[in-house]
Symmetry: C2
Subunit: 261 residues, 2 copies
């Protein structure tokens, strides 16, 4: 038996953030989760909406969105400003002592500007290092960290960073000192073998079954990098990962996908 | 002799924030200040610029700016997002372990929506309570808090709040546990008896001289609420207040206005 204390890391995306009622319900449920916890949130549609309203045209190269300087300014103000602070204020109203962070705050998440051989992604960061001792200090003081998807390079540059990756990197780093359960909340009940059928949730998946389902083509292409990422996190010390609708957080009997090695 | 540890609180406004070179110089100097410190920053012109670019018309009642919901969204994203996170990232590059906060984060600054008999200021907050124990915990862990001028009411509402007031309320609260020096940095060398003459700095002012200068009309009208606020802070435990150009922070011989009871 591990004598590490449990820590729940929950990642939410646009489907929750873009719907005020859904977000309020989620935050009320999140507040009721016992013990140590961290929230990681993605962006949602408001950054795109803001970018359009100030006349920015999305920069795409080979189908990938590029974060140029004006777009970086927008994501920083929306993710770290509007979304993060509204979530923190609502959690405080639910008596959860939330504190909102970008990776620059307390140097909690340092990243490196992506260096791709053919595509210049602009101001996009790949996570390099988590400040685990400070994270542990905050948590042991009753703080509930709320991370947005912005990091920094420790040379003064903020960087747009994938929220799923932030959640998994936090989970891996925190697993040194906590027994970590990582929860990815999205609009579906879990990983489906048939995207059209909500009843086709794979309730348990391990590396063996994953290899088999990939071979059979039963796992949806967009789900493959997500699951690869999950198995990578598990191999690096994360105890358990769940993917599903956020009702899995309050209802232990809710159907979702549990992932183990 | 007090056995409290010293704490410097520094407030900067738009004149520094709006000028990238000036801001970089200030942040490099700020990083060199020894010991415990807190930075409080105002807004600058970018909130007004953003408001205009998305088509907002400033709401004014009796000459006072009103923070309606769309304007609140703008100040939250600019102050707590763009400005705060860029300052934090630059301080981290200067090896200062900065952490950026609104008042909602960690419930550090709780305020009350202003209730004025004749003017509805909108989402404007007056500071009610500082979470001094948490502030002390953060500082004792080597964190340099960086506050933007946004607070919350603990019921989920973010509120636009005067940065000078945030600085003075933090100074008063922190003076319970620290020996606090509060520094207001602005574009002038100090409080001037002649606004047109930079050489007319009042280098020392106490409550007696202040009463006399007000009587003589030598103190500029806009300076009166600022100085009233200073004397109030001093009467509530703040050790020392200085007003002047930020060069006073690195050069002990720089001319500035020192205020004592």
């Amino acid at each position: 038996m591990s004598n590490k204390k449990p820590l729940s890391i929950i990642k939410i995306g646009g489907n929750i953030i873009d719907d005020a009622t859904e977000l309020a319900n989620f935050l009320a449920d999140f507040s009721k989760i016992d013990g140590n916890k961290i929230l990681v949130h993605g962006g949602g549609k408001s950054a795109t909406k803001m970018a359009k309203s100030i006349g920015l045209v999305p920069q795409m190269i080979e189908g990938r969105r590029i974060t140029d300087q004006p777009m970086l300014d927008v994501v920083v103000m929306i993710y770290a400003g509007e979304i993060n602070k509204n979530i923190v204020a609502q959690l405080q109203a639910n008596n959860t002592n939330a504190m909102g962070f970008s990776g620059a705050d307390g140097n909690l998440i340092q990243s490196t500007k992506r260096n791709h051989p053919t595509i210049d992604y602009g101001f996009v960061g790949d996570v390099k290092k988590i400040n685990t001792p400070l994270l542990q200090t905050l948590i042991s003081n009753g703080i509930v960290p709320v991370f947005c998807a912005i990091t920094h390079d420790k040379n003064g540059q903020l960087l747009n960073t994938n929220a799923d990756t932030i959640a998994s990197e936090l989970a891996i780093a925190a697993s040194e000192v906590f027994e970590v359960t990582l929860n990815y909340c999205f609009e579906k009940a879990g990983v489906l073998t048939d995207v059209e059928d909500e009843n086709s949730v794979i309730q348990q998946i391990n590396s063996e079954l994953y290899a088999q389902l990939k071979k059979e083509g039963a796992i949806h292409s967009g789900m493959i990098p997500k699951l690869d990422n999950c198995f990578n996190s598990l191999s690096k010390g994360v105890q358990k990962i769940r993917i599903g609708h956020h009702k899995m957080l309050k209802d232990n009997n809710a159907i979702c996908t549990s992932i183990e090695l």
